[in-house]
Amino acid sequence: MDLAATILVDGLIYAGWLFIVSVGLTLVFGVLNILNIAHGSLYAIGAYAAASMVGAYFAWGGDAFPYGSYVAMIVAALLVALVLGPLLERGLLRFFYGRDEVLNVLVTYAVFLILEDVMKLIWGVNPYFVYEPYTLLGDVEMGPLFYVGYDFAVIAAAIIVGLAVWLSLNRTRMGKVVLAVIHDSEMSQTMGVNVQRIYLGAFMAGAFLAALGGALTAPMISVTPGLGVNVIIVAFAVVIIGGLGSIPGAAIGALMVGISRAASVHMLPEAELFIIYFVMAIVLLFRPEGLFAKTQARKI
């Protein structure tokens, strides 16, 4: 397996994970016009919930059918979205709609800090492990390298998530309503659309995708406090490259970051961090609104 192929495979694996983490962030921004810093916390809570759920699954005899642990991970992400989605959107964020975007960033940052402590109260500071799902799918031999089958499952999950979000938005009636709200929420409301419900649904979908990203990551790592901090930074880079609010943009952004990072690790490891933000800077130099965001007239 030559270097270019290795970079491509490594880049795709990382991009798949990045896309799942980022797509919810861009979706929430697209619909609610809120840059949700607490997305990182939802990711971390998804990881904790999945670790707890999978642990409970195996404790209750899941060894007989270990593949059920994947269902447990998805259920964990759903539970996070069902509990925290309405709580945050109805309980807090709706009071800040239409307010300054910077204020919303500060509000979600406050939520992020609160949730970091909530996680410690619930799960403590000790790490949680769920290795079983990581090794269940065996190895994939590619030339001289071995990959874990789970890595390719994450790529598949990213493709499924991307298609599901795109089809939901573009090929369903509800999706068209959501798009209408994105374009003009006031006009949609006058046309009889329950905008509040759309906001709630979009935020819950975003929370589910964040939690799903965490749940899929949990088997690869030890789930410890502070998990969400690094994720939110790199997810922002991805959605800014692709254009805030753009689903295809998140996919392209994830691919650009994933592959450029992989190339750097293999060829110029000192620049691993630099390269992500270098790519972002280059994109913003030529497309300040990101690759896929539509240029908007500025109201003066």
Partner: protein, 440 residues
């Protein structure tokens, strides 16, 4: 303490001194207040901060009860004084810690501060400690720069700095005659990871001059995912992979590297890896060469000898209270608190049994040596302010009978074999080929 008991204590002190008693008998004050600062939240909490304080709590409780530890630590508290602890979370960065330090000294009026895992905090606090003339022990952090670039009067570090860890690893490889043609590193991208890699490559250049560095990877702290880095290491096929990662980063790296068979292609060496054994257990592969930043954890338990009673007493108490065996962090807290106890009692023996002042404590601590579960601690460097201690490296081996990961083929290194001599900077000592090392 009321006036009657003060008189009684004074009379007892006079009686003890008249009788030529070696140690202090009673103090004027009946409490010695320590400010303990360690990570109670954040990424270092689970690996270092919380276990360190768990160990500290076990030791303080036993000391306050008195007679629970073997001699010379069988006297109650510190010189008879009850130990009171003010616990502070180290999270929040160096600026916050400087403020917390001032609070401890000026508001809480602690008699000593024991703290700091983060090298950043260890570099920020000592100037303030000297400014306030507050007796301070740095119990954990690894950067050699604290005393190699500065001098302090009231600040002491009771654990060896990080140079020892990587020199020991290289010596372990050499003494086991491991053939190394090439090596690579995966270390966290901050001072700890960079310094550890520099020390390891320096030591390897001396002991394995023909070995070449294949790649040096520095993923950011808290990266969690190492898929691409592991691909790079698999492609490069170095004989050996070095990592000083710790905590969740180390656990993630081990899980992902093992699943992809990196340990079957390259010998993995972990300079500070013992603390993830309780969590990983069988997920930690066999045959990993691993250190514990001192004769700590499993290496201390397996050592035997005259310190075994002290080690076993604290080990058993820790295991009984927390349901897990102690790894490196509690051992470093133990050696700090036992060093403080030794210094306090030495100062009291010299001042007639009074609670020592900061100046008396600093004078007592300077150049002190004492026994701890991790071995003989000697304040031998930085004009008596920086400790050296023995170290150990072992190889992981799963014990199926016990259902536990063990260390086998443990090699114990004398303090003066793996630490630089006084007056020599670590980097210079390594670059010059370890002059003055005593490894017999």
């Amino acid at each position: 303490m009321n006036s009657t008991s003060k008189k009684f204590a004074g009379a007892l002190t006079a009686l003890a001194l008249a009788a030529g008693a070696a140690g202090p008998v009673a103090a004027q004050d009946d409490t010695f207040k320590i400010g303990v600062i360690t990570f109670l939240s954040g990424q270092a909490a689970e690996s270092f901060g919380v276990p360190a304080w768990n160990g500290g709590k076990v030791l303080v409780d036993m000391l306050n009860e008195g007679g629970k530890l073997p001699a010379p630590y069988d006297q109650k508290g510190f010189g008879g004084m009850n130990i009171e602890v003010v616990l502070v979370d180290e999270a929040g960065g160096a600026t916050k810690q400087v403020q917390e330090f001032r609070n401890l000294v000026q508001r809480e009026e602690v008699d000593a501060v024991v703290g700091y895992v983060s090298s950043g905090d260890c570099l920020a606090v000592p100037p303030v400690a000297d400014e306030l003339k507050a007796f301070t022990i740095l119990y954990d952090c690894g950067t050699p720069r604290v005393f190699e670039d500065n001098t302090f009067e009231y600040v002491f570090r009771t654990a060896a700095h990080a140079t020892m860890d990587n020199v020991s690893l290289a010596r372990y490889l050499k003494s086991r005659d491991v053939a190394i043609e090439s090596f690579a590193g995966l270390n966290q991208d901050y001072a700890w990871g960079q310094d550890s890699w520099a020390d390891f490559t320096g030591a390897m250049a001396q002991l394995y001059p023909d070995a070449v560095v294949k790649t040096a990877l520095f993923p950011k702290f808290g990266a969690g995912q190492y898929g691409t880095e592991i691909s790079a290491l698999l492609r490069e096929r170095p004989t050996l992979v070095h990592s000083s990662n710790w905590g969740g980063d180390l656990q993630g790296f081990v899980i992902q590297a093992t699943a992809r068979g990196l340990h079957e292609r390259s010998q993995i060496v972990l300079s500070a890896g013992d603390h993830v054994i309780p969590q990983l257990q069988q997920k930690m592969p066999e045959g990993i060469y691993l250190g514990a930043r001192g004769v700590n954890g499993l290496a201390a338990k397996a050592r035997g000898g005259e310190l075994q009673e002290l080690t076993d007493t604290l080990w058993d108490a820790y295991e009984a209270e927390f349901g897990v065996f102690p790894v490196q962090a509690p051992f470093r807290m133990w050696q700090a608190l036992l060093g403080l106890k030794t210094a306090v009692e030495k100062a009291m023996a010299e001042n007639g049994g009074k609670k020592p002042t900061n100046e008396e404590l600093a004078a007592a601590m300077k150049g002190l040596s004492w026994d701890a579960p991790s071995g003989r601690i000697e304040m031998a460097l930085a004009d008596g302010h920086q400790a050296i201690q023995p170290n150990a490296i072992g190889t992981t081996k799963w014990n199926a009978e016990k259902g536990a990961m063990e260390l086998i083929d443990i090699e114990y290194f004398d303090s003066r074999c793996v630490n630089p001599p006084a007056g020599v900077k670590s980097a210079d000592w390594i670059a010059q080929g370890f002059p003055g090392a005593q490894c017999d």
